[in-house]
C-alpha cells in the first residue's frame, strides 16, 4: 500500500533528525528553551515548522502524568445558567493552556458519579463540579478517593472548596423587595426541592425573610417536570386567596410562571408579581424583564478554573478554606409591581 505514511504526524524524532540534534534537545527547545543555545533553538524551530510538528499530547501526558485537561460535571446545558458558566470555564481554561471535558448529568445523582469516574479514567488534572446536593453526594466521595483537585461551582458547603453566591441572603433581597411593594400573599415555586441544595438554600432564605416580615408563606409549589410545570403553576393561581407574588427558585421557572399567569388571564406585573433567580442573559432582555438575582455565571466558571490552576501549579489541593463567595446583584426588572 503506497503513501501509507503520507499523512503520519511528525514525531520529536523526525524533528531531531531533520535538525541534526537529539530528541532530548528538541524537547528542551520547547519546554525549557533557556537550556538550549540560541542557534540550535532556531534550528529546531525551523525543522518543527517545516514538518508541521505538534507534540503528541498523550505521549507527554503519559510521561509527565499531567494531561492539561480539566473535567467538568454539570446538570444540563439546557439551562442557560450552566451554559454561561461553562463558557466561562472554557475561556479561562483555554487561557491557562487547559482543555476541558464536560459531562452532563441531567440532575441524576447516579450519573454524577459515573461522570466523575469516567473523567478520572480519562486522566483529567482537576474537576469542576455542580452537584445536586453537596452534603450527600456519591460523586464527591468518588472524587475524594483520588488525589486530584476539585472545586464545586454554585454549591455552597462548608466541607468543600466552592465558588458560589450567598443564595439564602440573595433570596432575602427578593422577598424584601416584594414586601416593600405591598405583597402579603407570596408563594415560592421550585423544582424538586430535595434534588437541589441550591433550591433548598433559596427556600430557606425565603422562609426566613417571610418570617422576618411577619408573613405566613403560602404552600410551596413544586413543579417536578418541565412538561407539566406551566399547568402545575396555573393550578395555584385561582381563588380569592391566590398569591399576589410568586418567588421562583430560578429564572427558567420564572419564565414558566409568567406564562402560567398569562394563561390564567393575569397580567405581569399588574395582577401578579414574579421573581426569578440566576440572572441568565436572556432574562434581562425579556419583556417584561425578569426581576431577579443576577449571579456572575461566567465568572463563577472562571474563578473555579483559577482555583484549580492555582492548586495545580502549587501541587496542593484546594480545601474549603479557598472557597469564594462572589457578589451578586439584584435586578429590579419589570416583572414585579405594587400589590393590588
Amino acid at each position: 500500500m503506497p503513501h501509507r505514511h503520507r499523512h503520519a504526524r511528525a514525531s520529536i524524532h523526525d524533528i531531531a533528525q531533520s535538525a541534526g540534534v537529539s530528541p532530548a534537545t528538541v524537547s528542551r527547545a520547547f519546554n525549557a528553551p533557556e537550556l538550549v543555545s540560541e542557534a540550535t533553538r532556531a534550528l529546531v524551530h525551523h525543522a518543527a515548522q517545516r514538518l508541521h510538528y505538534r507534540p503528541n499530547a498523550s505521549a507527554r501526558t503519559l510521561r509527565t502524568q499531567r494531561s492539561h485537561v480539566l473535567g467538568v460535571v454539570l446538570p444540563t446545558l439546557t439551562n442557560p445558567v450552566f451554559a454561561e458558566c461553562l463558557e466561562g470555564i472554557a475561556q479561562s481554561a483555554a487561557a491557562a493552556g487547559y482543555a476541558i471535558m464536560p459531562h452532563t448529568t441531567d440532575y441524576h445523582v447516579a450519573s454524577e458519579q459515573a461522570c466523575v469516574a469516567s473523567l478520572q479514567a480519562a486522566g483529567v488534572d482537576g474537576l469542576v463540579l455542580v452537584v445536586s446536593d453537596a452534603s450527600r453526594s456519591p460523586a464527591l466521595e468518588q472524587v475524594r478517593r483520588e488525589r486530584r483537585p476539585y472545586v464545586l461551582a454554585y454549591n455552597q458547603h462548608p466541607a468543600h472548596p466552592c465558588v458560589s453566591v450567598e443564595g439564602e441572603k440573595a433570596m432575602a433581597t427578593l422577598v424584601e423587595h416584594l414586601v416593600g411593594l405591598g405583597h402579603r400573599r407570596i408563594a415560592m415555586v421550585c423544582g424538586q426541592l430535595h434534588a437541589s441544595d441550591r433550591a433548598q438554600q433559596r427556600h430557606a432564605g425565603f422562609l426566613a425573610s417571610m418570617k422576618a416580615a411577619g408573613l405566613d408563606p403560602l404552600p410551596l409549589i413544586e413543579v417536578p417536570f418541565v412538561a407539566t410545570a406551566i399547568e402545575d403553576i396555573e393550578r395555584n393561581l385561582s381563588g380569592p386567596q391566590r398569591p399576589t407574588a410568586l418567588v421562583c427558585s430560578n429564572d427558567l421557572i420564572a419564565i414558566r410562571a409568567i406564562r402560567a399567569a398569562h394563561q390564567r388571564g393575569l397580567s405581569v406585573p399588574r395582577d401578579i408579581s414574579i421573581t426569578g433567580f440566576d440572572g441568565i442573559g436572556l432574562g434581562l432582555e425579556l419583556t417584561p424583564a425578569l426581576s431577579t438575582i443576577v449571579q456572575p455565571n461566567a465568572e463563577i466558571g472562571r474563578r473555579s478554573v483559577e482555583l484549580l490552576r492555582d492548586a495545580l501549579v502549587r501541587a496542593t489541593l484546594p480545601d474549603s478554606g479557598s472557597s469564594l463567595l462572589l457578589p451578586y446583584r439584584f435586578n429590579a426588572g419589570e416583572s414585579c409591581g405594587l400589590a393590588r
Copy 2:
C-alpha cells in the same frame, strides 16, 4: 518520604501480578474477553476491582492512536441553540464511549482555526464544527490538512459533510405565514450578515419569498452588537412606513426585537408581528411564545456524532455525500398576528 505511592493508581502490571497472570492477559480480559478463559477472566476482574484499576487513557491512546475524544468548535454557549446542540453531542458521544472537548470561538474566524489546531494537537479522533462561513474558512483548511473525520453542524455547504436544516426553505415558510396574515411591509433583522453563512441563507430565503409574494422587502436591519441591538431595532420602528412585521435571523434577536417594539409602545403581536429562527427551548415558553422555525438542535448534535462514529469504525472519512438535512417544524407561536 513514606506513603509516597499510597495513592498511585494501579497499573496493568499490578493487576497482572496480583492475579498471577501476564499484563497481556489482563489487557485481553478487558478488550477481548473471548480470548481469555472464564477462570482467568474472573481472576483478573477480581484483582482489578480490589485495586480499583482503571486503564490509563493516555497510555492506551499512545499505543492505539485512538483517543476516543471528539473535538467540538462552536461560536458560543451563550446562544442556547449551540448549548442545546452541545448537549446532544455530549449525550451521544457519551453513549458511544467518547469524551468531548468543546472550544468556543465567539464568532472570531481566527479563533476557529486556533481551536482546530489546539484540538488536533490534543489528538482528538474527529471534529464537530460550527463555523462562521463554510465557503471560506481557514479552520476547515486546517482540518483538511490532517486525515481526521469532521462534520459541520448547522452549516450547509456542498463541499463538506454537514448536518443541518434547509434554512432558505424554512425562511420561506415564515414569510408566507406573515404574508398570509396580510403583512406587506416586512423587514429582516440580523446580526452581521457577512459573518454567518446561515444568516446569509436565511436572508436569501427571505428575499426569494418576498419576491415570490410580489413584495418589496424593507431595508435590512443589521444589529452587529448585542449591547446596542435593542436601540438599533427601535430606531427602525417609527414613521408611517414602519414595518408591520420583523423577520429575525434568530430567536435571540427576535427576543430583542420584541423588547424594542415594547419600548416603542408597540404591542406584539397586535401592533407588530415578529418571527424568530432556531427554536430554542425557552422561546416556546415565552409570552408571547415565539413564532419561529424549530430546528432539532440536540438532534443535530447527536447525528453529527453518529456520522463521526460511523466514519471512525469504518476507518473512512465522511464526505459531503453523507450530509444530512434534518426536518424542522414551524411553530406558529403567538408573536405574529394579522396586519392592521
